[in-house]
């Protein structure tokens, strides 16, 4: 059974200018331990879709089922770990204080917390920075702290909203590799929003291409690159083929393109 099921999810914003349809009839099923990327131009509602899954935004129509329950119940059960584009670290807490925050909120005992935080910091390679403050770290390191924090409760689902969007290309590629290692170790299911085609193809088992205003699923591309993916993956001909395929789908305007197929049904 799918771990995340979206059934005809819509989102309409009301403003003075009238109604704006941000998302229209988005249906998608994500299997356990899958890595699914949402990609599309700005304003296609990909971030909104992620927030709807995380119960941070309410959909105007349709249903979201996570782990067999509504998104709101999944949030209260703490099934999610979230990483935003900005690291969103608390300046008054050290690195270990920030990573341990979710465990504190849950009310885990201190000893367990410390042990778990250390394990996570080792995982993201920040073992030597436990007592540093966020503002003493580089942007890439801050984002690794945010990832460690999202993983510390061992959530079933990781929601990532352009987590590497503000980083330089080299840091981004290195963190891509680290993220895949972490996911392999934890078995987390990932829903990942990005506007980088290469990043989406490199990381994902499937890439969901969205159209802008209103956001609809244009195509779902299966990424059949072998696991585990390494830096060599980026040089494979198949990698370039898939990147090109996604780019073509993104370039298509569904209203003008002749012969463009209907939005592919979700599996």
């Amino acid at each position: 059974m799918a771990i995340i099921t979206l059934d005809r999810v819509s989102k309409t914003y009301l403003s003075q200018a009238g109604e704006t349809a941000a998302l229209q009839d988005v249906s998608l099923a994500v299997e356990r331990s899958e890595f699914v990327s949402l990609i599309g131009p700005s304003g296609c509602g990909k971030s909104t879709l992620l927030r709807i899954v995380g119960d941070l935004v309410q959909p105007s129509g349709g249903t979201v089922t996570v782990n067999g329950k509504p998104a709101g119940a999944a949030r209260l059960d703490r099934d999610y770990g979230i990483v935003f584009q900005a690291p969103v670290l608390y300046d008054w807490r050290t690195v270990e204080g920030n990573v341990g925050l979710p465990l504190e909120v849950i009310g885990r005992p201190r000893a367990e917390r410390d042990e778990r935080v250390r394990a996570l910091l080792r995982l993201v390679g920040l073992d030597g920075f436990r007592r540093h403050y966020p503002w003493q770290l580089s942007g890439g390191m801050q984002q690794r702290v945010a990832i460690a924090r999202a993983l510390v409760t061992n959530p079933a689902i990781l929601l990532m909203d352009e987590p590497f969007g503000a980083l330089d290309e080299m840091t981004r590629e290195r963190l891509n590799g680290e993220l895949l290692n972490v996911c392999r170790e934890t078995g987390a299911t990932v829903l990942f929003v990005t506007h980088s085609i290469a990043e989406a193809v490199f990381l994902s088992s499937r890439v969901v291409v969205l159209t802008p205003r209103p956001g609809r699923i244009e195509q779902v591309v299966d990424v059949d690159l072998t696991q585990p993916r390494t830096e060599k993956t980026r040089a494979l001909p198949r990698f370039f083929e898939l990147v090109t395929r996604v780019r073509e789908y993104l370039a298509e305007d569904p209203d003008l393109a002749v012969g463009a197929g209907p939005a592919s049904p979700a599996r």
Binding site: L56, R75, R78, A86, V88, Y90, E104, V105, Y133, W135
Partner: protein, 256 residues
């Protein structure tokens, strides 16, 4: 090493200012009752010392009581207001506008309401420190960014946890900025209130009565005592700030 770098220039400027003052008074042979030279003020202080310490502590106690009441009240009411944002939205413009109300102008009325004793002075000092504390604290509590709140929401944190783990620590630096500024306000409130009536052994009454007799060197020595007491309170609060929000001070230093 840092001590030398930071404090030596400050101390240097202080000494230089005193020398300049002394020099100008002598050079232009300014009458001592208009502006006494520093050495005259210090000499006067030596004579009036026991009296001024007693009067100073009396006034200081009023200021401190008002300070503690005003700051505590400001933080508590702001906390309450932050739980009811509609109320906060209504209250905040008035609180900000109150900054333009000359609260010391109420001092004569405070004597009518609370009597000639310490009550009226404490009331003015309280009022003067309440509003800045309220405004700063509320801004800090409500100025938390949306993403930080979303993070808490995604963790299914309770309102109580959001307050203790996010809003309060975020507001703490704002609070301390107000706490520091309020030390001076409390002293002003107490001294000025005493101008309108109070016991003989208080700084305000002493400054006013000596000045009206042109015994300005006595007035100046009392002003000096008021300065020292005000500065002591300021430094004490600054020290607590260093301990309470050390992260913030380090952060600002690293960005400077």
């Amino acid at each position: 090493m840092r001590l030398i770098h930071e404090y030596l220039p400050v101390a240097g400027v202080f000494v230089l200012g005193l020398l300049l003052w002394e020099g100008l008074v002598l050079a232009f042979s300014i009458e001592f009752y208009l502006l006494p030279a520093p050495h005259v003020i210090v000499a006067t202080l030596r004579q009036t010392y026991p009296f001024l310490v007693e009067a100073g502590l009396y006034t200081f106690r009023e200021a401190l009581a008002g300070y503690l009441l005003g700051c505590t009240g400001g933080v508590l009411i702001a906390t309450l207001a932050s739980r009811f944002p509609t109320l906060a939205g209504v209250a905040l413009p008035y609180a900000i506008a109150s900054a333009s109300v000359p609260i010391v102008a109420l001092a004569p009325l405070a004597i009518v309401w609370f009597g000639i004793g310490p009550g009226s002075k404490i009331a003015i000092a309280t009022l003067m420190t309440f509003f800045p504390t309220f405004v700063s604290t509320l801004r800090g509590l409500l100025g938390v960014d949306v993403r930080s709140l979303e993070l808490m929401r995604s963790l299914a944190a309770s309102e109580w946890q959001v307050f203790w783990k996010l809003r309060l620590p975020h507001s703490l630096p704002h609070m301390f900025t107000a706490f520091r500024a309020c030390t001076t306000l409390a002293m002003i409130g107490a001294v000025v209130s005493e101008f309108f009536g109070g016991p003989v052994k208080s700084l305000g009454v002493y400054i006013k009565s000596t000045a009206s007799l042109f015994q300005t060197r006595q007035s100046w020595s009392a002003i000096l005592v008021a300065c020292v007491l005000g500065l002591t309170l300021y430094l004490a609060v600054a020290l607590i700030e260093r301990l309470a929000v050390s992260w913030r001070i380090e952060m600002e230093r690293s960005r400077a």
